[in-house]
């Protein structure tokens, strides 16, 4: 498993909404070895020591020409600086990092992305489609503005997206859990699986429903991180069996049943 630290060219910047940005890098080495659910650590500044640490972002999409995308919301200093980087500039990336989604088992799957948790779902949907599978896709956001610009890429893959917004401005009105409640896999499906990424309460609710439906559930988790490569032990997440796992090395994707949820 190779990891790379490279200065790569930022080849495209897109403002998806007022505060959501998509960056495309020419990063052939990372793109060629990346799996859906893995992430990269991005240096937000080229000058000085502030902000000091890299920022983690899920890999949103890669292609055969070496392009790698991240999709992120501007929250604080790091993402603000990153959003201001210009096309043609070089950015230091570290990746691909962590363990991604498990794809091989199961012939039926449901992908559930909420908010910026949508980011890794595009890469995942793409990989599943390449395996000839047709996942059910549920995407949720607060408002339609945040969701609509992301839909075309999914639709291009030939998957049907069930959209839901908290304010009802687009798609169904409510939460992803309201949609997921009514999803039923065909009775004959083998090892059906649910993949989810989003705010923790959302993933907890999905996991609860999965338990009721007896479905296996993979979740992509977030913690604060310093290194992203398993060196600092800063990214601890409590395990059901006691002790901690490290999100950057053991995750970010976990089998939901292994984590401590305090449901």
């Amino acid at each position: 498993m190779s990891q790379f630290q490279q200065n790569v060219e930022l080849i495209r910047t897109e403002s998806m909404t007022r505060d959501v940005v998509r960056l495309t890098f020419h990063a052939p080495d990372i793109a060629a070895t990346a799996h859906p659910g893995q992430f990269i650590m991005v240096q937000t500044t080229t000058t000085g020591n502030d902000p000091l640490l890299r920022r983690p972002f899920s890999i949103h999409q890669v292609n055969n020409n070496g392009a790698l995308q991240i999709l992120f919301k501007v929250l604080g200093r790091g993402t603000e600086l990153l959003a201001k980087r210009q096309e043609g500039e070089f950015v230091s990336l570290l990746g691909p990092l962590g363990k991604g989604f498990t794809l091989d088992n199961g012939d039926a799957s449901c992908l559930i992305g909420g908010g910026m948790g949508i980011a890794p779902m595009l890469f995942l949907a793409h990989s599943l489609r390449r395996q000839g599978k047709t996942p059910t896709v549920i995407l949720g956001a607060r408002t339609g503005d945040e969701l609509v610009p992301l839909l075309a890429d999914f639709q291009q893959l030939g998957v049907v997206v069930q959209a839901v917004t908290n304010d009802g401005s687009f798609g169904s009105h409510g939460f992803v859990t309201d949609i997921f409640k009514d999803i039923h896999f065909p009775a004959h499906s083998i090892n059906p699986i649910v993949y989810t990424c989003g705010p923790r309460p959302m993933m907890a609710a999905i996991f609860l429903q999965c338990q009721h439906k007896n479905l296996s559930c993979q979740v992509s988790m977030e913690t604060t991180m310093a290194c992203g490569i398993g060196a600092c032990l800063g990214c601890a997440i409590p395990l059901k069996s006691g002790g901690y796992a490290h999100v950057c090395a053991d995750g970010p994707v976990f089998s939901a049943k292994d984590l401590l949820w305090n449901l």
Binding site: Q3, N7, A231, C232, L233, A236, I237
Partner: protein, 323 residues
Amino acid sequence: MEPVTVDGKAFAPREGNSSQVDLRVNIGSLQLQNPVMTASGTFGYAREFEDFVNLQRLGAVVVKGISLSPRAGNPPPRVVETACGMLNAIGLENVGVERFISDKMPNLSVLGVPVIVNILGDSVEEYQEIARRLAEVESIAAIEVNISCPNVKKGGVAFGTDPQMAAAVTQAVKGVSRAPVIVKLSPNVTDISLMARAVAEAGADAVSLINTLIGMAIDLPTRRPRLANVIGGLSGPAIKPVALRMVYQVAQTVSIPVIGVGGIASADDALEFLLAGASAVQVGTANLVNPRTSEEVVAGISAYFRQHHIASVRDWIGALQVS
């Protein structure tokens, strides 16, 4: 002066050329091919860095602190960024000395780089017991004793803040160790020279400094501490001036080798610590930002010496000109 850490590219070491400068240093009976080590807790068990660093180019690697029994560590959040630095409260998570010897050491001993094992305990006896077990492992180059831990028998006062307790730990570890013993000093004291003198007199072969400075960060919107542990250790470029001052003071005080740690992210930083009197340096937090830093520092030091016609690092150590 040119910055030396431009993401790996600036100072790719040229084979053969580096033989022109002599970077060898001695830490007690241990001879290192160059003065650059990695700092405990920032380099995992070295394997994490194999894709980024040619480990054989380093002076030594120092591994994460090991205790007698495994420790789970603190609840999250464990790390938070601060201005030009970071706070950590990892809680000394580690696999314990048994599993370290059986699971980690076999991998470490074949890396072709001296391995220094950092140890921690909550009593003098615990430190000694770990050191006794490690003494059975031939391939350990040195022991580094982290004394910034609370002594549970003395109401949780850190060993590193009391000269008698620090001396007692040093003596206990030294008494059972085969390899040289480096005592890692805490900066959270009024007079670090006093601590250095106490451990030197107790038999330490070298001192390393500084460990992290205790600090705190608050999240204003939620009115909560940003670390679950409330307080944590500050590291990174923000602490470099404090570390440099302490290294300078300690190097003036003791005759054993001093290893400088704190905010080192480039060859220039390392060169400053050596000038201040350090015989070697450790790269810590910088590994977390740019995993190649340690190797870049080695390459940068030899490039600097070539450029300035410095034949040996030993001519540079302590050569600070205070007029």
